[in-house]
C-alpha cells in the first residue's frame, strides 16, 4: 500500500496540470452534509481535498473560514470526528486528503499519535498554518515516520536561506501563500507571488500549489500559464456553503457546479 506522500506524488504525476486542491472545513455545516460535500468535490473533479480541522483561534484565516470553523465546532467537530469523517469518505473514494490545522490541536493529541491516527484513517498530508520552518522538526519527523506528507508553506517574504531549508523538508506539494494576508477571495494575481513561484520552481521538483485569494477561472488560468502545478481554492468554496445554509442539496449542488467551472479548461 502506498503512503500518503506517495499517493499525493502519484496524483501529481498522473493528472493534468494545474490540479485543483479544493478546501472545505470538516463538519461544516455539520458532519453528514460535510461528507456529502467531500464526495461531490471528488465527483466534480477536485484532484485533492484539503480538509480544515477547525481551531478556536485560527489566526491565518479570514472571516469566511472563521465562521465555517464555528459552524463545524458548534455541531460537534473535533479531532476524533475528523478521523471518522475521513474513514467514512475513504470507504468510497481514493481522492487524496490533506488536513489543514493549527499546532495546538496536534500537540494536544500528542504529535506522534496524531500522525499515526491520521495515516491509519487515510489522511495523506498535513499542513499546519502556525508552524513555520523553525518549529517544524517534531511535526515533520512524525510525518515521515507515519508516511504522511509534511506540506510546508512558503510566502513572498520567505528569504532564500529559509526557502532552501523549507524545500529540503517538504513533500507532497509546496503550499505557496499567494498574498500577504489571511485566507479569503481576492481579485487578480500578485506579481510578488508569481516571482516566488519562479524562485521555488528553480529550486525543487516537488509540485508547487498557490493558495490564498484564488477564486476565479481567470486566476486559475494565470497560475497555469506560469506553470503552477496546482491551485488551492478555499474561501470561495466555503462561501457557497454559507450562502446556502439550511438547504443541504443546494449546498452540494453549488459546490459541485463551482468546482466544475474551475476545472473547465
Amino acid at each position: 500500500m502506498k503512503t500518503g506522500k506517495e499517493t499525493i506524488e502519484a496524483v501529481f504525476a498522473a493528472h493534468t496540470k494545474p490540479l485543483l486542491v479544493a478546501f472545505t472545513v470538516a463538519g461544516d455545516p455539520e458532519y453528514g452534509v460535510s461528507l456529502r460535500i467531500m464526495k461531490e468535490m471528488a465527483l466534480a473533479g477536485a484532484d485533492i481535498i484539503e480538509l480544515g480541522l477547525p481551531f478556536s483561534d485560527p489566526v491565518a484565516d479570514g472571516p469566511v473560514i472563521q465562521r465555517a470553523d464555528l459552524r463545524a465546532m458548534d455541531t460537534g467537530m473535533n479531532t476524533d470526528r475528523l478521523l471518522d469523517l475521513v474513514r467514512e469518505f475513504r470507504s468510497s473514494s481514493k481522492v487524496p486528503i490533506v488536513i489543514l490545522t493549527y499546532a495546538n490541536l496536534i500537540m494536544r493529541r500528542g504529535i506522534s499519535r496524531f500522525y499515526t491516527d491520521a495515516a491509519a484513517a487515510g489522511i495523506d498530508g498535513v499542513v499546519i498554518a502556525d508552524v513555520p520552518y523553525e518549529e517544524s522538526e517534531p511535526f515533520t519527523k512524525a510525518a515521515e515516520q507515519s508516511g504522511v506528507a509534511p506540506i510546508m508553506m512558503v510566502s513572498p517574504t520567505t528569504s532564500d536561506e529559509r526557502l532552501s531549508g523549507i524545500l529540503n523538508k517538504a513533500a507532497g506539494f509546496i503550499y505557496l501563500v499567494a498574498v500577504m494576508g489571511v485566507t479569503g477571495a481576492r481579485t487578480g494575481v500578485e506579481q510578488t507571488a508569481l516571482d516566488l513561484l519562479k524562485r521555488v520552481k528553480t529550486k525543487t521538483s516537488v509540485p508547487v500549489a498557490p493558495g490564498f485569494g484564488i477564486s476565479t477561472p481567470e486566476q486559475v488560468r494565470e497560475w497555469a500559464d506560469h506553470d503552477a502545478d496546482a491551485v488551492i481554492v478555499g474561501s470561495a468554496i466555503v462561501r457557497r456553503i454559507e450562502d446556502n445554509l439550511g438547504d443541504p442539496d443546494a449546498i452540494v449542488s453549488a459546490v459541485g457546479t463551482y468546482i466544475r467551472t474551475l476545472k473547465k479548461p
Partner: protein
C-alpha cells in the same frame, strides 16, 4: 532567528510563514537598535520627562501596622496613563519609529494597553489602530473614549468570544497583511519570539528601580515580592531583576469563581499548549481548543500566560497562586480605605494575596507589592458588584 526563542521548553515562534520576516526584522532591531545609546537616551527621556519615572516605592504605615511587617507598594499606578502598560507601549512605539514604521496596531482588553499605545502614538506622531473585543468596547466605554480622544481608531472585534483573545487574533491578522509599514505593539509578555523578551526588557524598569529604591531605604533586599498575573508583564518586569536573589517571588492569578469554576488562572489551572505564537500554559479542552477565561478584572481575563512564567513555574523559582474575584474586591476596598490608594482590580489580586501570607512574615520582613495600576477605571464596576452583593459603599 539569531537568539534562542525559548525559556526552557516554553516560548518559540508558532506563527504563519508570512510573519517570520517581520519577526526577524524585529529581532534585529531588538539586538541592534534597542541597546544603542541613541535609542536608550530617547527612551529614558520619554520615561522620565513624559511618563513620570521613577515611580515611588511607597512605605505604607497603616498597612504595615495592620499586617505586622514592612509593606511597600511599587507605584506603577502613578505612571502616566495610570498603569505599567506605558513602559512597554512607549518603548515599542519608539523602537518601531527607529525601524521606520509609521503605523502602530495593538490589542486591548480593559483598554489600558490601548490607551498606552494611543498615548505613545500621539506623542511620537504615529497612527494607531486598536483592536478591542466588542464585549470589551461596551463595558470599557471610558477607555474607548480616551483612545479616540488621543486620535487612535478603535476597531471592535466581532469574531470568536469578542474579548481580548480574539482582539489578539485580529491584530495578528492585520499584521500579516501590513508588516511593511506597521508594528504590532503587543501588550504583554506573550506572542511569538522576540516579543516575550522585548516586553520583559521594557518592563524590567519596574524591578530595577524597586531594587535600587529598597536598598536605599532599607539597606537590604525585600523578603517577598508579590505581583498579579494575566499575561504577566508587570510581574515579569518586577521579578526579572530579582530572579538570582534570595527573594521569594509570588505571582497571583485570577481565581475568578474558584479554580473549580470559571477562572483565568492559566498557570494554576491550565496545561502546556500553543496560543498566540508561543508554547506556554493555556486554558484548553481535551482536544486543544482554547477555553474561555473569567475574571472580575478584565486585565487578567486571558487564557494564556507569558512563556517565561511557565518556565519559572516548572522550576519552582516563582510561586504561582490565585485569589478569587471576591478576595480581590475585598482587597480593592481594603487598600482604598487603609492607605487612600484605589488600586486597579488587577493589582487588587496582589494585595489580596499579600494579606493572606502576612501571618507568616516577621516584623522586620519586607513585603513589596507591585501596584501595577490605579482603580479609577474600575470604580463603577465595583459599585455595581457591591450593590449586587448587598454591601453598602
Amino acid at each position: 532567528m539569531k537568539l534562542p526563542s525559548r525559556f526552557g521548553e516554553y516560548g518559540g515562534c508558532y506563527v504563519p510563514e508570512t510573519l517570520i520576516a517581520a519577526l526577524e526584522e524585529l529581532e534585529k532591531a531588538y539586538l541592534q537598535i534597542l541597546p544603542g545609546n541613541t535609542f536608550q537616551s530617547e527612551l529614558i527621556h520619554y520615561l522620565t520627562e513624559f511618563a513620570g519615572r521613577d515611580t515611588p516605592l511607597t512605605y505604607c504605615r497603616n498597612m504595615s501596622a495592620d499586617l505586622g511587617c514592612k509593606v511597600y507598594l511599587k507605584r506603577e499606578d502613578l505612571l502616566h496613563s495610570g498603569a505599567h502598560k506605558l513602559n512597554n507601549a512607549i518603548g515599542q512605539a519608539l523602537l518601531a519609529k527607529f525601524m521606520g514604521k509609521t503605523r502602530l496596531i495593538a490589542e486591548t482588553g480593559a483598554g489600558q494597553h490601548g490607551v498606552a499605545t494611543a498615548i505613545a502614538g500621539a506623542t511620537l506622531g504615529m497612527s494607531v489602530e486598536v483592536y478591542m473585543g466588542e464585549v470589551d468596547v461596551e463595558r470599557q466605554a471610558l477607555n474607548v473614549a480616551r483612545m479616540k480622544m488621543m486620535g487612535a481608531k478603535v476597531i471592535p472585534v466581532q469574531s470568536g468570544t469578542r474579548t481580548l483573545k480574539d482582539a489578539i487574533n485580529e491584530a495578528m491578522r492585520d499584521w500579516v497583511a501590513s508588516v511593511g509599514d506597521t508594528h504590532y505593539v503587543i501588550g504583554t509578555v506573550v506572542g511569538p519570539h522576540p516579543f516575550p523578551l522585548l516586553v520583559r526588557d521594557l518592563q524590567s524598569v519596574i524591578g530595577t528601580e524597586t531594587r535600587r529604591q529598597i536598598l536605599e531605604k532599607e539597606g537590604k533586599l525585600p523578603t517577598t515580592i508579590v505581583a498579579c498575573i494575566g499575561g504577566g508583564s508587570n510581574a515579569i518586569g518586577m521579578f526579572h531583576p530579582f530572579v538570582n536573589d534570595a527573594v521569594t517571588l509570588i505571582g497571583v492569578e485570577a481565581g475568578g469563581e474558584g479554580l473549580d469554576g470559571k477562572h483565568g488562572a492559566t498557570l494554576c489551572g491550565g496545561s502546556p499548549g500553543v496560543l498566540h505564537g508561543n508554547f506556554s500554559y493555556i486554558l484548553q479542552d481535551s482536544y486543544g481548543q482554547i477555553q474561555e477565561s473569567h475574571s472580575v478584572s478584565a486585565g487578567l481575563d486571558y487564557p494564556g500566560v507569558g512563556p517565561e512564567h511557565s518556565m519559572h513555574k516548572d522550576s519552582g523559582r516563582v510561586m504561582y497562586t490565585a485569589v478569587t474575584d471576591t478576595e480581590a474586591l475585598d482587597a480593592f476596598l481594603y487598600l482604598s480605605r487603609t492607605e487612600g490608594i484605589i488600586p486597579a482590580l488587577e493589582s487588587s489580586h496582589a494585595v489580596a494575596y499579600a494579606r493572606r501570607i502576612v501571618p507568616a512574615l516577621k516584623t522586620d520582613d519586607i513585603l513589596v507589592i507591585n501596584l501595577s495600576g490605579r482603580g479609577d477605571k474600575d470604580v463603577s464596576q465595583v459599585i455595581d458588584l457591591m450593590q449586587q452583593n448587598g454591601v453598602a459603599l
